[in-house]
Each structure stands twice: as C-alpha cells, then as structure tokens.
Amino acid sequence: MQKLFRAFLRHPSGRIGLAIISLYLIAALLGILGITPHDPLKLFAIDRLKPPNATYWFGTDLLGRDTFSRLMVGIKQSMIIAFSSVALATLFGTIIGLLAAWWGTLWDGILMRIMDVLLAFPAILLALLIIAIVGPGTGTSVAAIAIVYTPIFARVVRGPALSLKQRDFVDAARTFGSSQPYILSRHLLLNLVAPLAVQVTLALAWALLTEAGLSFLGLGTQPPTPSLGLMLAESKNLMTQAPWLMIFPALTIMLGILGFNLTGDALRDILDPRMERREA
C-alpha cells in the first residue's frame, strides 16, 4: 500500500491530481462546516456586482452575494452528489457484475441484458428521463447519476470476475469448503480492487461533470442552494458586465474534473499498464 502511494506520488499526473482533489475536499469540508468568508446566501445589497477585491475575493453577483463563498458551498454540493452517486453505482454495479459472473449462464444473460438496456441511452438522456419522472433536486441527481453508472461498473467487474472464477485458487477454495460469500468477497472482489479503483476515480470526474451539467440546465440542485453549474448558467446574461461571475465557476468546474481525471490516469498507469490501450 505504501509502495503504491509512493509510486503514485512519483507519477506527475498523480501528484497534480491529488493536490487538486485535496484542495477540493478541504473546500467541501469547510463548506459543510459553514466556514466561508461570507454567508453564501446573504445579500450585500450595496455591494452588488462588485469585481474581485480584498473583501469579496472573487467578486459579488447581481444580488450582492459573495462568489467565493458560493463557490465553496457549490464545491461541497458537487462533491457530496458525486461521491454518493459513485458510491451507490460502485456498490450496485459490483454486486450485479459479481453475481452475473458467479451464477453464469441464465442469470448472467438476464442481468447483463438489463445493463445493456440502461447503456442504450446516452448518459445525460437517461439522467433527464429519471428527472422527468421524479422531479429535479439533489436526491434525484444522486439517483440519476448512480443509475447511469451502475451498468458501467457491472461490466468492469463482470469481465475480470469471469476469468478469476476459472482460476485454480478459486477451485481450491471451493474444495476447502469455503462459503460462497467468502469466495466472492475474499478471492474475487479483492482481486478486482485495481480495476475498480481506476473506474471509481474516472466515474467521479464524470459525476462532477454530469452534476454540473444538470444544474446548468436547471434540473439539478435547486436555488437558492449554490451549485457550480447553476452559477455558470446564471452568469451568461451578465458576462460582459461581470465576467468574474463566469470565469470562476468555469475554472472551478474544469479544475475539479481535471483533478479526478489526472488521478484516474495515474492510477491506471500504476495499477494496470495494460489498460492504457483500452481507454475510452
């Protein structure tokens, strides 16, 4: 584990990625604790549309709210949605993929065809369909992103699980009388940690992107809760008078996605050099 971490730090993308993610996690944590320079919802009526200055580091918006504080809370919102949706997708995708591989034949066919049906939709469209049914909101965003990524995790797990199932050590475990849950968790899952780790990091990047996209469309986090996508969408009409309202949210979104992408790439290089070729 320590060796892995050192290899990760030697990797240039790994170092930069980790630095960015740490920065975002700190911002999110401060956002959760409510430690922001100003109240993100408070309207400083006399300080409307102020450019960046010593008091308002990233300026203020049309209603006189502090952009920097709003970005911090926006990052918190994005991170919570991204982490919880990816956690759900990893959990369900892994279970489905493992069971499909372990049970084989009929169940494999049924489970994976259901996953194929979910994969038949462009991601954003499936998310929109779910929002159309349930209505927009934080919980819906989490559910929508989780459902979109579950089949991807199922596929990532099923392939390697199928080949692990044939290996001698699994047969050996069976002859020793190990229980099925033990074999599944101990022998299959443990060997799948590497491909899963890579997929989780890349999925986090996509989840951040999708969350920002949904709130950009007005179908994600609902106002007055600050969200990065919504801040960017709102900046559109003011971009000539108040470009800071657009530039800071845009950079915040980009940098966050970049951080997870860089980390995912570094992990892939270190954990499994063969995966480089199959990247998509």
Partner: protein
C-alpha cells in the same frame, strides 16, 4: 460469424427492453395522466368527461394492454400525440432532427480532423516536449464540459470580436448550405471539443501500439520513409479503435446536443427533450427519448459490424 449473428439477435431484444423501460418509467410519474396533460384545467372536468378522455387515450385499460397498443403503434410510426403541440410526436421529432443530426455530424468531422493528426503527431514525437504539450492539452480538453466551452466561446466572441453567434435560428442545409453550416459552427466546436481531446488520446496510444509492431519494422527496414510508414502503413490499423470510439461517441453527441442546443438556443431535438420535460409533455418525452436511444443503438450496431469487417480477428472470438 457467430458474433455477428449474436449481435443481430440481441439488437431487437435490447430495443424491446428500452421500449419497456421508457414506457414504464413514464407511467411512474406521480399523478394521473389526464391531470398531467391538462394541468390545472383538469379540475374543471366532470367525472364523465374524465372517463371519456381516459377511454379516448386508452388509459382506462390495464398497463400491459396499454403497452401492447403503444408498441403496435410504434411499428406503424405512431409515437402518440404531443399534449403541448397537439401534433403527432413523430412529426415534431422529424422536424427537429435534421438540426441535431447536422450538429452531431459537424462536431464529429471537426473532432476527427483535429484529433487524429494531433494524436499521430504526438505519437511520432513520443516523450518529447511537443508530445507532452499535446497530451496536457488533451487532458485539459477532456476535462472541459461542453457548457463551459460554450459559455467561454460566447464570451470571447462577444467581448473580443463584438459578434453574437446566431442564436435561435436555423436554416436547413439544403436551403442555404453556407448559412446553415455557419450557424452551427460554434455549437459544433462546443459539442466536439471534449471529443477531439479523446480522439487525440486514442489515436496517440493506438499509433504508439502499431508503431511497435513487427510489420512496421519490416517496412522501415525495406527503406520506407518515415512519412510513408506513419501514414500509409501504420495509420489504417491505428484507426480501428478510433472508429469504435467515434461510433460510441456519436450517440453521446446526440445526447450532448441537449446542453449545447440549450446554450445556443437552437431548436433541435435536445432542446425538444428538455422543453418536453419542463412542460410535462410525457408523450413527447417518451417519443424523443426512444428515438434518440434507437439511433444510439443503431449506430453502435453498425459500428460493431463495421469493426468486424475491418478486423477479421474479432469474427472468431466473442467479446
């Protein structure tokens, strides 16, 4: 040929699954369909009128019979009637589809013509500064969502060039090709930006793979020039993964059009889905989602078949 047969057989099966999913999910919407259709005016209906309407739309039937009716309709090109537009859903879709298709095709052309040369260039300069720069740019490009690029493009155009990209209007390609392409050029760049970055990365790694193959060494030892080795011998094989990516991505471009059409206020299919969702026009949501998923599946099927034709190795083993 096992794989091709299997692929052709699962296609209708998945399509059926998609139709069930779309149908059922729309039925999960809370509240009854008549209230959804008429909004507050539904309260003015007498019970008799309500029953008559339910019978007219067939929603008094059990759900499986509603589904079968809907499915038979699908085969006859009947996707239902939009409650907002009062027109057949298919007619509205076909009206809006040309814009989205042209947008997706244009962004595909842009990304491939930027990404492939960049990727090949980087591969031939492996680990040199120019390769590192291309890789960094590609990484950055892949991490930039379309809505960020779109907003930035509008900002740069309006502040530095004093121009506003044509918004809200669309001239069909066959009416005035130049105007049509001109109107969609910035939206197409927006939509294709991240994809160009993926193409760059894939072509680079595919090219690196191929360049280390034995047959390339043979070509070099026979005295073929670097240019001929890269473009004539290596590129055709390096393109195989790029083709697959392009096929898969085409469907995502259709989906991504939702956001880009929203930014540039273009009356395409993506905008239609979004409006249908906010206006709670469920027949339209159902129809458009199904239509896009169908196209997405069809393109993936065609790409897989093309892949088999391009690479004989796949014909034997399954994936």
């Amino acid at each position: 040929m096992n794989y091709v047969v299997q692929r052709l057989l699962t296609f209708p099966l998945i399509l059926l699954g998609v139709s069930v999913l779309v149908f059922v999910s729309i039925r999960l919407v809370p509240g009854d369909a008549i209230t959804a259709m008429l909004g507050t005016e539904a309260g003015l209906l007498t019970p008799d009128q309500r029953a008559a309407l339910a019978a007219y739309f067939g929603i008094d039937q059990p759900i499986w019979s509603q589904y079968l009716r809907w499915l038979t309709g699908l085969f006859q090109g009947d996707l239902g009637i939009s409650s907002v537009y009062g027109k057949p859903v298919l007619a509205i879709i076909l009206e809006r589809f040309p814009l989205t298709l042209q947008l997706a095709l244009m962004s595909m052309v842009i990304s491939l013509s930027v990404g492939i040369p960049l990727g090949v260039f980087a591969a031939t300069r492996n680990e040199k500064p120019s390769d590192l720069i291309v890789r960094m740019l590609a990484m950055l490009g892949q991490s930039t969502p379309s809505f960020v690029i779109g907003v930035l493009i509008i900002y740069v155009l309006s502040v530095f060039f004093g121009m506003v990209p044509a918004m809200g209007t669309f001239t069909p390609l066959f009416v005035d090709p130049l105007a049509s392409i001109g109107q969609l050029i910035f939206p197409a760049i927006t939509l294709g930006f991240a994809f160009a970055a993926s193409v760059t990365r894939i072509s680079r790694s595919a090219m690196l793979d191929v360049l280390s193959d034995d047959y390339i060494r043979t070509a070099r030892s026979k005295g073929a020039s670097q240019r001929s080795v890269v473009w004539r011998h290596a590129l055709p094989n390096a393109l195989i993964p790029v083709v697959t990516l392009a096929g898969v991505e085409f469907g995502y471009l259709l989906g991504g059009a939702v956001i880009v059409e929203q930014i540039f206020a273009l009356p395409g299919l993506g905008r239609l889905v979004l409006d249908a969702i906010t206006q709670r026009d469920y027949a339209l949501v159902q129809g458009t989602v199904l239509f896009i998923a169908f196209n997405f599946l069809l393109v993936n099927l065609l790409v897989d078949l093309a892949y088999v034709a391009l690479d004989p190795r796949i014909r034997i083993g399954s994936r």
